[in-house]
Amino acid sequence: MSPAGSNGQEMITLTLNGREVQAQPGQTILEVARGEGVDIPTLCYDTRLEAYGACRMCLVEVEGARGPMAACGTKVTAGMKVETHTPKIAKLRKFVLELLLTNHPLDCPVCEAAGECRLQDYAYEYLVDMTPWGWRPPSQQGPGDHPNIAHYGSRCILCGRCVRICREVMSIGCWGYLNRGYDSEVDTPYRLPLQEVGCVSCGQCVSTCPVGAIAGQRTPQGARAWQTTQTATTCSYCADGCRLMVHSFRDKVVRVASQEQKGVNGGNLCIKGRFAHQYTEAADRVTTPKVAGADATWDAALKAAAEKIAAIKQANGGQAVAALLGTNVTNETAYLAQKLMRTVVGSNSVDSIDHADSLAVEKALIDTLGTDAITNSRYDLAEAGAILVLGANLSDSDPVLALTVVEALRANTPVIVVDPRRTELAGKAKYHLAVKPGADLAVLRAMMRHILDLKLQDAAFIAADTTGFAALEESLAGVDVAAEAAIAGVDAALLKAAAVDFAQAAAAAVFIGPGIDQGTQGYWTAGAAVSLALLTGNVGRPGSGIYAVKAGANSQGLIDMGVRPDQVPGARLADSDAVAKLEAAWGSDLTSVAAGVNAAELVSAIESGSIKALYVIGADPALALPDDARTRAALAKLECLMVQDSFPTDTAASAGVFLASAVAFEDEGSFTNGERFVQRVRSAAPVAGSSMQDWAIVQKLANALGADWVYTGPADVMREISELNADYRGITYAKIDEAKVQVPCVADDCDGTPILLTRDGKDCAFMPAQPAEVSPGAAYTLLTGSVKEHHATGVRTRRSSGSTGLVADARLEVNPADAAGLGIAEGGKVRVSAGVAWVEVEAAVTDRVPAGCVFLPGFSAAAPAARLLAAGGHPQVSVAKI
């Protein structure tokens, strides 16, 4: 899965169709041929899978071989002479196709795959006579009742790609073979519905099926591949940054597909990326600006907004205005928004909504490593000899990045999951340390103590590249491994074994997820995780590194663009040289702007009256921030609330001005994914109604406030970003059109920076390991997080049938023992209360959640988990049957 590039080995020469070509040792004939533009046909081959050799379409003639060789699996050798399209081979391929057609339904007119069906293409290309061997069409089967995935067994050509992708890539195994020989079939175990065999609705089987046997369910707006406009763009949900191929027809998005070998996902997608796109057509989508809840013209809306802001600025100064951005706001919009706030409004209170959750982790990482970005990427995870996953439910929050960890799991790399819940990864990992909520620190302290006891630390690295080791040692001096394990509620022997595996790995990676920040000690926990990595020399090398996973599609880009009160594009606000440069470029005085408030401080700042106006772009603080009653009250108190969104969010309910914006499929610009890859967002459909793209709205608002911005489009904005942000200096749309580039990309000829903190003498700082503070809970500890079907507060996924068809609303996960005690049955209604706040939800009885804990995902509007959360900490809740 590593990006193409020389592996340093000497090239070998072979002859391909009479032409001498160069190849890397280890490449297959197929890889070499495709690289040379020679199209060898395949049906059972997928770059994501191991070569299978079943379809026999890729057979080629190799001089001296006993018979035709399968190009998909045969490695090239020096001097090899390969002929890919001899008359004999063509005849044999034609035969194979004719044989496949003997029992194919030939229902092409109603088949989803028509137009992008390999069987159809090759049958035509190889001059197949319809069915010279007779035709025994199987009886029509399908499509089954899965909301997203249709299975037409009668069209199956038994290439096994679905079976293999579900097993090899997803590590699940929903599909398998039934019967043998001519009677072989692909189906689920015992022909159960997909929903009952562990299917996560990722649609990987859909993406790999070369015919129409497994496809997306047909919809009324269905259109053929040749009828649709296809646009490559970047997914706007999580921080994985998957490349999508969006099919639109008659100006509407009808289908989302992926492309093998393209993008960081290489063709893999999850349920949200592939199926949750119907929100663009949601019935309640707002495509007209509004003032005080009534439809308005753009001029009227912008005028109303500008007047309010101007008035507040006049009365209270620019610092009384704050802006809050959602995580799928593009770099270009984010750049303009913070420029608007800093230079036009005069406020540093510009932040992203996810910062409220990531505050502690970001600060800990900056204090220790000087960067909160993911230091490496999925591409060198294959070199990790151990992976620690701390408080991150990757399979649900980052489903495609998680596949890289799954790949490592399958290669027997020890994976250590520290999580109270038995998450999908925890169920497959070598170690699941089912820690008590909030006791992650105890696990990390015990691991470090054990590593020191066994003298497994990387002393040379510690001496040369770190500071603060003595303080760490001191903080661990009296620590007893067994006692810490007991505090964590984890088996000490298991913990020790995990620590040894981690320390002895040639390289080890650490994932830090939002789970740790739900405790009060998020800062110290993240710091301890960094210390563990430093202790074992695990930064700055392939396979090592800190992966502090980000919440949304452009979480990293927002930081890079300066969407932080204490940060400007490419620099800390405290960096006076950088600020001076920006002041010169912007013609604006930044140093006189007061310090801003961040997302976590916002509500109290409104309550105290220091913030009087709020500009929200693509975020829903009413549901996202803890204690929703308090947040809603604060929002209502604002003198001016401007919401720029495509939907009537809970936040928009109290908005004075609503600015109707394009959804991501209608937008242009770029996202910087969690691993710092800058990728294009391209418009796949025209902007609905009178909505506008976000960047354009920000520019109009700025100009309404007296600026004279004349950006011609997002590309123009990106030009300015690259001029002013040193980390983006080498980024242009042309460069990132296809290539995968990680920032910092500091010059035109720079290919990006795959690994941060390479050992250039920079010091990384240890953080003393604080003791864990575990408060004994009287009732149930509430855990929250994501489910793979929904994103964040669910503004878009709750409006997408691809998600709601499977998970319509949040359910409270309750351990069977607790459920029995409370008399709760599967699907029974329960009331979850924290203080005076409560939500009512259905219960899901599962041992994924430990006894004493309950889990409520955060996407629901009807039962917002945020309502039960105080700022920080795992709240204690009571649960009662209704």
């Binding site: 070569a51 026999r56 018979g67 035709p68 020989g181």
Partner: protein
């Protein structure tokens, strides 16, 4: 149980066993191989236990249940030692007489010994013509050994080769000895065993495996079964020697679930070998550790293919994978794995014990040693035979096999199982070795020899094999899964009289695709039964397609039975025998077959007395109109009516 911790300990234990044996103590050996098992050898055994008790010989005579002797046609075989009197087709009711006559009185029960048309009674087993041309090197010990008693193997010299390898040869020397012997794999491919071992030995991975392929699946073949059932320790010994040479510490025996006795006996043998210190940590105290696990196959022919077999051992579906990297380099769990057939492993101890030079002295230039065949089909003496490589096929069929029953005419021999081909009569003098059989258009295979007589239809034979292969194709690759199905369809049409002109050419065409494009050897060799029968018996195919005629009269839809009114004597035999009540007739009335009721079972044809020969089997010609019902039989010329 002694734990043998050195070569010397093994030798002294063997000597103590030999010393304890009373040379003249009588012993009843009862063949308990699969053939004799089917002939109720267990009841014969029970009868001997009972009779020895009844006649007061229980503590004077031993009973030993041995492995297969090979002469399955005439089981149950009972050999009385030390006289070496061998009784055939022994039934439980014969036992009392055998005990009295032979064990008490020292005589011979004449009616139970082999009778040759020329020589007369032959009491000694080795003198029987079936055995005389054989060279039972690998198989020969079977009849003296109780497979469930390791001592009976050790007393006959068992595990001496292992001791020799471990204590007087380096692994390289063992490997070189096997290489020098020019032993070729007995499973079918005939790949040089030493070269295969070398590949695995030299693979960089320190974890290596050795595997016994006992997934014997060819129709009619049971060589490996009889070896595993009858002499499991020889296979185990060969495997340990191989593991020592290659550097493997774990072995597997992949054996079909359908071989329950083999599994049972092997399980006992492995347990006993472990208890004796011949398996496990430090084999015989040599420091070399090795153990063997049994993996039972779930009944798939294709799992005999190496990569499919290894997938099955890993717990996956037994499907072959393309062998871009050979299993010798990347096999079980990706580790180098050396797979050999049962017979190959069983041959190894002989080579180590007697030397490669001795082994090379047997056989032909390209094929050394002996080969075990299962001789079945239309032949008088069916059973297992072990012959030196290079023996003419005619000798196997006619001298050992005794020729064709009922004096029918020999037609062909199918060799090599479903992947092999037929050797027609004109080539019956071909030498049986790897290269000559290949040159003759067939192959050695694992050693199945199916003899066919004039009543065998070659189109039907091909259809039979393709049906087998169609059922056994795993379904992974397109040419095998779909192509065999199409071939079977064409062949079935030929046998059922629905084929079209040009079908032979279509059959040939599709055979080419399946042969060239299939993934594993099951597919690439699947057309062989068709191609080889077409090569030698194309006229039969043409008769089926063009004339809708089955020359052998086997294909029912192409055959009709008709009673010749001129020959029918109204004897009513066919009338009584017809299971479909399709024959009408009465005394002195000409019998008539109602073609609409006739199921073509041929019972009428078989029972019609040869002196009348009134029932005719017609194929490719219209059935004449029957005479009117009630037509009286015509008076016989010469008037000798019954």
């Amino acid at each position: 149980m002694p734990k043998l911790d050195s070569g010397a300990a093994l030798e002294s234990f063997r000597q103590s066993l030999q010393a304890a044996q009373e040379a003249q103590r009588p012993c009843v050996t009862i063949c308990s191989g699969t053939g004799c098992h089917a002939s109720r050898s267990d009841k014969v055994n029970a009868a001997f236990v009972e009779q020895l008790q009844a006649q007061g010989l229980a503590d004077k005579v031993d009973i030993k249940r041995t492995g297969c002797h090979g002469f399955c046609e005439l089981g149950t075989i009972v050999a009385i030692l030390p006289q070496e009197v061998t009784y055939l087709q022994v039934k439980p009711e014969d036992v009392a007489e055998v005990v009295t006559t032979t064990l008490v009185e020292g005589g011979v029960v004449e009616r139970l010994v082999y009778h040759d048309a020329v020589i007369g009674a032959i009491p000694r087993e080795d003198d029987i013509p079936f055995y005389k041309p054989q060279t039972p090197l690998v198989f020969g010990q079977n009849r003296y050994i109780d497979p469930c008693d390791i001592d009976s193997y050790i007393v006959k010299g068992g595990y001496a080769a292992l001791a020799k390898a471990l204590f007087s040869m380096s692994p390289d020397e063992v490997l070189n000895e096997v290489k020098a012997s020019e032993l070729r794999g007995r499973g079918g491919g005939g790949f040089p065993t030493g070269a295969k071992w070398k590949t695995t030995k030299e693979a960089a991975d320190p974890v290596k495996y050795v595997v016994v392929n006992a997934d014997e699946g060819d129709p009619g073949a049971f060589m490996d079964r009889s070896l595993l059932e009858g002499n499991p320790h020889r296979v185990i010994e060969g495997l340990i020697i191989g593991a020592y040479a290659i550097g493997a510490h774990q072995g597997y025996v992949y054996v079909r679930q359908e071989y329950p006795i083999a599994v049972d006996n092997l399980t006992v043998a492995l347990q006993q070998a472990r208890e004796y210190g011949l398996l496990g940590d430090s084999v015989l105290g040599s420091g070399f550790s090795f153990d063997i696990a049994i993996h039972r196959g779930a009944g798939a022919f294709v799992s005999g293919e190496s990569s499919a077999l290894m997938a099955a051992i890993e717990g996956h579906v037994g499907e072959p994978r393309p062998k871009y990297v050979r299993t010798a380099v990347s096999g079980i769990y990706g580790h180098p794995t050396n797979l050999n057939n049962v017979e190959t492993w069983a041959t190894v101890p002989l080579i180590i014990e007697n030397g490669s030079e001795w082994f090379r002295g047997i056989g032909t230039e390209g094929s050394k040693g002996t080969k075990i065949f299962s001789l079945v089909g239309k032949v008088k003496n069916t059973g297992l035979v072990e012959v030196p490589m290079g023996i003419p096929l005619r000798q196997v069929v006619f001298d050992i096999g005794g020729g064709i029953p009922k004096d029918r005419k020999f037609k062909a021999v199918q060799t090599g199982g479903p992947s092999g081909g037929v050797i027609p009569e004109k080539m019956i003098d071909v030498r049986v070795d790897f290269d000559d059989l290949s040159a003759a258009g067939s192959m050695m295979g694992s050693g199945g020899l199916i003899v066919m007589d004039e009543d065998t239809c070659m189109v039907d034979t091909a259809r039979y094999y393709l049906n087998f292969l169609s059922e056994e194709s795993c379904g992974k690759c397109v040419p095998c899964r779909e192509g065999i199905y199409q071939m079977l369809g064409l062949l079935t049409a030929m046998c059922e009289g629905t084929s079209q002109p040009g079908d032979i050419e279509r059959l040939e065409e599709i055979s080419g695709v399946v042969k060239d494009f299939s993934l594993c050897a099951l597919g690439t060799t699947a057309p062989n039964p068709v191609l080889s029968t077409l090569a030698h018996f194309r006229d039969e195919y043409e008769a089926h397609v063009n004339e809708k005629r089955c020359p052998a009269g086997v294909c029912k839809p192409l055959v009709n039975y008709y009673i010749d009114p001129d020959k029918c004597r109204a004897c009513m035999l066919c009338f009584k025998e017809c299971p479909a009540a399709a024959i009408t007739g009465a005394r002195r009335e000409i019998h008539i077959i109602d073609q609409s009721k006739c199921t073509k079972c041929g019972a009428c044809f078989d029972v019609c007395p040869s002196r009348y020969n009134a029932v005719a089997r017609l194929s490719g010609v219209p059935v004449p109109e029957p005479v009117a019902a009630g037509t009286p039989v015509s008076p016989r010329k010469g008037g000798d009516d019954e």
